[in-house]
């Protein structure tokens, strides 16, 4: 069954076109990669897919029904099932809240008791490789990668059906990155979560996403199974992306 579908999505800011008619279809439990030049519209497309923003033209369907307008009760009910890992954690973590409060909030919004909420925090932190002691800290007392992992823990906490992960491992070293990617793969496999993953790191997308869309100047220039797209790119832009990739020399 198709979980998420976008058709002919267009968006402009101050008359500058950002998305020029993009489409995608994602089935339940499937993974899709989104790559493209910096500023090509990946985050904007994600915000529209999440229903956070309305497209100027085109439509987004979730389980076959149109996405309700942002911040309406119907949209809020949906949001439990659609979660996002924001590209920059500093923008979504309230600087005045402790990690504990940030992680409890989604549970509170969805009516869980205080004791129940509290009991869940240690496991949420542990799965993203953070010691329980960070619960009492505020964002200003965490490293970049620690904040990124708090945001991931929060997005997964409500067991969404769909995760939009915007550069979810961009601040993480190789070992913690592997740990987080393993977690995401596990959640997709075991709970049937579908995922749209954005990354500037082609290795990440090739490994994580079954299919990939390549976005350039607001249009999809290439689309297909990820391995085919990256191992045998057809569009010159995809080829340039692959060729510009720094590599670790053979040891």
């Amino acid at each position: 069954m198709i979980l998420l579908e976008a058709r002919g999505v267009r968006k402009a800011y101050q008359g500058r076109p950002v998305l020029a008619g993009v489409a995608l279809a994602l089935e339940e439990g499937r993974t899709l990669g989104l790559v493209g030049e910096s500023g090509s519209g990946k985050t904007t497309f994600g915000r529209i897919l999440m229903g956070l923003e309305r497209p100027d033209a085109g439509e987004v369907l979730y389980r076959g029904a149109p996405m309700p307008p942002p911040r309406t009760p119907a949209w809020r009910a949906l949001r439990r099932k659609i979660q996002a890992v924001h590209q920059d954690p500093a923008a979504v973590l309230n600087p005045g809240w402790t990690v504990q409060e940030a992680l409890e909030e989604p549970f509170r919004v969805h009516g869980m008791s205080r004791a129940e909420r509290r009991a869940r925090i240690p496991a949420l932190l542990d799965q993203v490789g953070l010691p329980g002691a960070v619960a009492s800290r505020r964002p200003g007392e965490l490293s970049g990668g620690q904040k990124q992992r708090v945001v991931i823990a929060r997005a997964l906490s409500l067991e969404p059906d769909l995760l939009f992960a915007d550069e979810p491992v961009s601040a993480l070293d190789t070992s913690v990155q592997a740990q987080i990617l393993n977690l995401l793969m596990e959640v997709c496999r075991e709970r049937g979560m579908a995922m749209v993953i954005v990354s500037h790191d082609i290795g990440v997308v090739r490994h994580m996403a079954e299919r990939t869309l390549v976005l350039r100047d607001g249009a999809i220039v290439e689309e297909g199974p990820s391995q085919a797209v990256f191992d045998h790119p057809e569009h010159p832009f995809t080829r340039a992306l692959v060729e510009a990739l720094p590599r670790l020399g053979g040891a």
Binding site: Y13, Q14, V35, G36, E37, S38, G39, K42, T43, T44, Q87, D88, A90, A91, G129, L130, P131, A133, V134, S143, G144, G145, Q146, R149, E167, S170, A171, L172, D173, T174, S175, V176, Q177, A178, Q179, L181, N182, M185, H200, D201, I202, G203, V204, R206, H207, M208, E210, S226, Q227, A240, L241, V242, E243, A244, L245, P246, R247, L248, G249, A251
Partner: protein
């Protein structure tokens, strides 16, 4: 030639608390790039901030010695920006959300290079262009830019002031490979032409392999290994470096579990001079690793049973 920046036995602790960074010594040299790598939470950003005197004295205790262009830094207001500039890990926090980005760069030029307003404005537009941002967007505020665009704006702002030393904290994590190459080529040009000394903090080992002359590997606030990039990546000596590199390659088959170092980096390093901080996660740990004090060996590492030696 003397170092542009010299850090000796640098230590950072929360006031009255355990150390977060310890025993860190390195040089930044004109025309060269030192890469600082290591696990998330190992103290890279704190180190960067300490180099610019940015850690608030009421919260942090910074020890050791720091020399910038041969002198102990005193007048930070004069040094910051014009002599030593920083690209912060989180660009959205580094920019003023209420001011047009062109104006923010122009202000830096007026302040650090004494330019008149009109000239600074033209120069700011030129710098935006050099990092691949249409100069027509100079009038926009930070909220109107993508994550990678903000990173480039911050890089432009740091470089425009013409510093001798650049401290760049994960500056290209939101840039696709082509734009990343463009921006780092620009830094490379300035390195060659103006002798810019660079500290590049990155978790991206292939990127480090391509752009850094030397590497310094940090773990739990302590140096583990240092040396020429090629040597460190091809023949690591410290077991932690080896483990970190082993996680860097994706297997051919997609969707398969990835190798990670089991366990977590400790949140604070234990008090006094502890033994190997990596011991609880190291496959090669032996009893003496927990008993002998931290030791920096002349071969440029801090491992008691280095790679290549029979375990």
């Amino acid at each position: 030639m003397s170092a542009a920046l010299e850090a000796r036995d640098l230590g950072i602790a929360l006031a009255g608390g355990n150390p977060l960074v310890e025993r860190l010594s390195f040089d930044l040299t004109a025309g060269r790039t030192l890469g600082l790598v290591g696990e998330s939470g190992s103290g890279k950003s704190l180190t960067a901030q300490a180099l610019l005197g940015l850690l608030p004295a009421d919260r942090f205790e910074v020890t050791g010695s720091l020399r910038i262009l041969g002198e102990a830094p005193r007048n930070w207001a004069r040094l910051r920006g014009s002599v030593i500039a920083m690209v912060f890990q989180e660009p959205r926090l580094a920019l003023n959300p209420r001011m047009e980005v062109g104006r923010q760069i122009a202000e830096a030029l007026e302040l650090h290079r004494g330019m008149a307003r009109a000239e600074a404005r033209r120069e700011a537009a030129r710098w935006l262009d050099r990092v691949g941002i249409a100069s027509a967007r100079a009038e926009d505020r930070p909220a109107a830019f993508s994550g990678g665009m903000l990173q480039r704006i911050c890089i432009a702002m740091a470089l425009a002031a013409g510093p001798r030393i650049l401290v760049a904290d994960e500056p290209t994590t939101a840039l696709d490979a082509t734009v990343q190459a463009q921006v780092l080529d620009l830094v490379g040009d300035l390195r060659r032409e103006l002798g810019l000394a660079v500290l590049l903090i990155t978790h991206d080992l292939p990127l480090a392999a391509q752009r850094c002359d030397d590497l310094l590997v940090l773990y739990a606030g302590r140096p583990m290994e240092s040396g020429p990039t090629d040597r460190v990546l091809r023949r690591p000596r410290h077991r932690y470096t080896e483990a970190l590199i082993a996680c860097a390659r994706f297997p051919e088959e997609a969707g398969t579990p990835l190798a990670a170092i089991p366990g977590q980096v400790p949140l604070v390093t234990p008090p006094s001079i502890p033994p190997c901080v990596f011991a609880d996660r190291c496959r090669f740990a032996r009893e003496d690793c927990l008993e002998r004090p931290y030791t920096w060996f002349p071969e440029g590492h801090a491992c008691f049973h280095p790679c290549g030696e029979a375990p």
